[in-house]
């Protein structure tokens, strides 16, 4: 869990989550409000620069993490850029189907805008996710009055994700030790057994966890203390100024 590791160990760790949340939120708003790719590109540069330059996330790690959403994005915008039902320029046919593929200036522009907007939004959220542990993000969401039930689910899912991964790893190692991965057939069977066991064990684990919570006086609400961080006005002003100016720019530059 790469993101988690950096969230706990980066140079922006001690910066108040409200500051990081403000910056990321304004970046997100600016990207979504933009009418041209210019502002989202600026947002990407600012957020990427902050994550890599200021918070100290290694550039290689950052780019690798960007690959995941980039894959989804490229697949998504391909549909916008190219069309099979007509356009300015015929660029080829789908082999074997006799399906023509067209590109159009308008389509390419739309695709570029969507790509840039999404990139800016992803970079904004990555800045928050890579510099702020989940617990503090939850604290931030609580200030924003997100329903408690949702936050509890986030925390439990987060914790159980690691417990489940650990369990899956253990089972898989135990299967390998008994030649469970020796042939393709074995691998498939092992995978099926792993899945089935994970479900049963997760249910068992959930029950155990519930007992553990009851033992410490759980009634109907999960509660915990949040870490206290100082909130220097300087940081907040800087975040509002930089994010705000981008948002302003996005609202002013209308194509």
């Amino acid at each position: 869990m790469l993101i988690d590791r950096y969230a706990y160990g980066n140079r922006w760790r001690e910066i108040h989550p409200v500051v990081k949340g403000t910056l990321a939120g304004l970046g997100l708003a600016a990207s979504l409000a933009a009418a041209t790719p210019l502002v989202p590109l600026l947002v990407m540069a600012l957020m990427g620069g902050a994550a890599v330059g200021a918070a100290g996330i290694p550039l290689r790690v950052y780019l690798r993490l960007l690959l995941v959403p980039a894959g989804f994005l490229l697949a998504g915008v391909a549909g916008l850029a190219f069309s099979c039902s007509g356009g300015d320029l015929l660029i080829g046919t789908v082999p074997g189907l006799q399906l023509p593929v067209f590109a159009s200036g308008a389509g390419l522009n739309r695709a570029a805008l969507v790509l840039a907007r999404s990139g800016g939004a992803v970079a904004s959220l990555y800045l928050l996710a890579l510099t702020t542990p989940l617990t503090e993000i939850v604290g931030l969401l609580r200030r924003l009055k997100v329903p408690h039930l949702l936050l509890e689910l986030m925390v439990l899912a987060y914790r159980q994700l690691f417990a489940c991964l650990e369990l899956a790893r253990d089972i898989s190692v135990a299967q390998q030790a008994r030649l469970g991965h020796a042939t393709a057939g074995n691998r498939l069977r092992s995978l099926a057994a792993l899945g089935a066991n994970l479900i049963v064990r997760s249910q068992w684990r959930a029950r155990q966890l519930h007992r553990g919570l009851l033992a410490r006086g759980f009634e109907d609400e999960l509660c915990w203390l949040e870490p206290e961080r100082s909130l220097p006005a300087r940081h907040l002003i800087l975040a509002v100024l930089s994010g705000g100016s981008l948002l302003l720019l996005a609202l002013l530059v209308r194509g």
Partner: protein, 277 residues
Amino acid sequence: MNAILEVKAVDFCYADGTPALRALDLAFARGRRTALLGRNGAGKSTLLTLLNGIERPSRGQVLCAGRPLRYDRAGLRELRRRVGLVFQDPDSQLFSASVREDVSFGPLNLGLGKDEVRRRVEQALATVGLTDRAERPTHALSYGEKKRACLAGVLAMDPEVLILDEPAAGLDPAMTARLVPLLDRLHDEGRTVIVATHDVDFAVAWADEICVLHAGTLAFHGESRDHAGLCRVLAALELGVPVVFELFAALQRRGVVRGAEPPRSRAELLARLADPE
């Protein structure tokens, strides 16, 4: 005897009908250190969850300070304030993302103010030696650290009775060695401490009283000084006789050490060997 916790004629069956405890009568004395021994499946963990009100007996009664447990919300809250249970598997207890948050869960449930909760959390973390790990995510802790975090989570609730299920299981020797002084310190602060364990050497060295469960019934309950009675039961149930007792008996036969009372720990035996008087 002044019993803080007591089970009277308790039967407990699992949902599938398997009996775990049968007509069990047992009282835990206030302010004492009690070790609970027994083979796997003897009913130790089940008994502990009954004492904390997690499970209810199928028949019979559980009493805290002489009063039968009430299983309504207020009754359970009061019970869990007084009786803290630390589970064997730390993953059934840790739910929160960071150590400090997890430890704050219990005291917040007691309805304490934030400042008091903060004070208790820091104190509990210091007691188990996890202050420098407080900000870590719980999944990044070692097994021993997880176990200590669980203990801190219960200590922060400041219970009069502290119940630990296999606190040393899975710990390395250094951590196990540190556990005894820690438990003693918690006991010296006036707590009743009950520990379920498989480690008979630990039990005789640490406990004032020993209970041995076998197949859901009480096979032995007495002072840990009562080595003759205890050894008979331990041998019969194949739980293993404490090493110091065996060594002492052998050395006594050869006339190397004197005295009728066997030492309770390896350190005590070595001290007696070094200074026979």
